[in-house]
Symmetry: C3
Subunit: 205 residues, 3 copies
């Protein structure tokens, strides 16, 4: 009867950590697409499974939130953090789908670099999430993500400039732009995650 009143802080931290680990698996799987012999359809399918797993974790997070009277930090911060983590996975999965669907035969170098940057973001994020419980050592995390997002952003912009310089036909430009947009959205979502973490830490300090 009083289950709603019992703090479940531990469960929240576990779910944020699980979500970030799922995302790290997703980023590593996505990076598999950049190998010359990659089986695009198989990778896209694996990404769908990982995205479903991430969905399940987010769903459990929101159910825990709805059934908890006491939460380790602001309810809305928990909601926004869960949503932002979920967004990262959604955009990486969408990018994998497009690459497979459009039959993108050869990934341009700049996009391979963006995917490598996303992989680093995912590792840094998965290392940071368990530290939410102690709120310690997180500043380095959000500074690193900010730098990585700037790197991804510069790669994206340089790639767009290249893309429209006339070396590719119009249909290929459209396909690659769609893929690049999803990758850029994933980088933005990683930054949003780090912003929420920063705001949580600043409120507590």
């Amino acid at each position: 009867m009083f289950a709603r009143l019992k703090p479940k802080s531990g469960l929240f931290y576990t779910l944020f950590t699980s979500s970030s680990q799922c995302i790290r698996n997703g980023a590593e799987t996505l990076a598999g697409l950049t190998r010359p012999d990659a089986d695009h359809a198989a990778v896209a399918e694996q990404m769908v499974e990982l995205e479903h797993e991430c969905d399940r974790i987010t769903h459990e997070l929101f159910q825990t939130l709805n059934s908890s009277f006491i939460t380790p930090f602001d309810r809305s911060d928990i909601y926004v953090l869960g949503t932002a983590l979920d967004d990262v996975m959604d955009h990486m999965e969408a990018a994998a789908q497009l690459i497979s669907l459009y039959g993108v035969a050869e990934m341009p170098d700049k996009l391979i670099d963006v995917i490598a940057t996303l992989e680093t973001c995912s590792q840094v994020t998965a290392e940071a999430m368990p530290r939410l419980a102690s709120m310690k050592g997180l500043q380095e995390y959000w500074i690193t993500i900010n730098e990585l997002e700037n790197t991804a952003d510069n790669l994206y912009r340089t790639f767009l400039a290249e893309l429209f310089q006339g070396s590719w036909d119009a249909l290929t430009v459209m396909k690659l732009k769609d893929v690049a947009d999803e990758l850029e959205d994933a980088a933005d979502a990683f930054e949003r995650v780090s912003h929420v973490v920063e705001s949580i830490v600043l409120k507590e300090s």
Copy 2:
């Protein structure tokens, strides 16, 4: 003076139902575009009017929310549900505008199927909204919407793959992709509506 304290639950249910009926009219009007002899400009104009009607309902919903002290369920759920319903109409109206504006002479089969799926979504949603008052018999609704959204999503993805296989010129590809994106966004918004309903019912049970 105590008007703010008087529960207006009935008015909330009436407004959600009106919004969903307006959307069903919109989906049926949109489906008119897929007939070979359709007058695109006339349909686009009708869609603008329906979108304005839906806007007025959403506006009244938010005003009722602001002036009510007691609400039938979480204030933020009412806000999100109203916004998601409004989004459905916005995307369907935008699709109709683009079809008219771009002079899309012939609708591809897959897009006709997506529009038929949206029409079914709108009927299922309009039947479910009045059941919010009793909170009964809604599970079937959100399961059906989930299946319909999967159908729309598969149609959309198969269509994208077709679109870029080189049978259409680049400008036509761009136009049809824009239309397809708005239709897909409308399907996503229907799913968002069903997710809020699911979350409201689960909180109450």
Copy 3:
């Protein structure tokens, strides 16, 4: 110790006004791009600086919000208003980047008109923000913004119809569509700002 309890209403009004002034500078700088002899790279760089300045103001606004126990109006309205103002600047900056990045040599007339409309929006908004403190004389503001947004929307739609009529090659169409979309998003964000202001005023009256 009781700093959190001291009302800081004045600071909120000052920050909203600063943000709107920064946006007005941004709109004027963006309008510089439409001159035949414009240095696109230089303008894009100025826009980045203005966008950073606007970011700093938004950041200070959110920090003030987090550290204030009493706020001049609903916390969520302050959040949404700050975000909407920030969005205006983001979209104008993104438009400037794309124009520079894509090497858009000649701006089409309709897009020049959209930018002029955004400039007027920015002036009207910067004049309205200081009036939030008294909540007086704001109705004219949101009516004007609504009209300006309709103007921008009609220009955008007419431009899209022109764009796809075959006078431009596919790559140019893609570039100009991207720029037009960002400008349209900026106009929408101005309207969102006015909607929040309207809702704040109506709640207080």
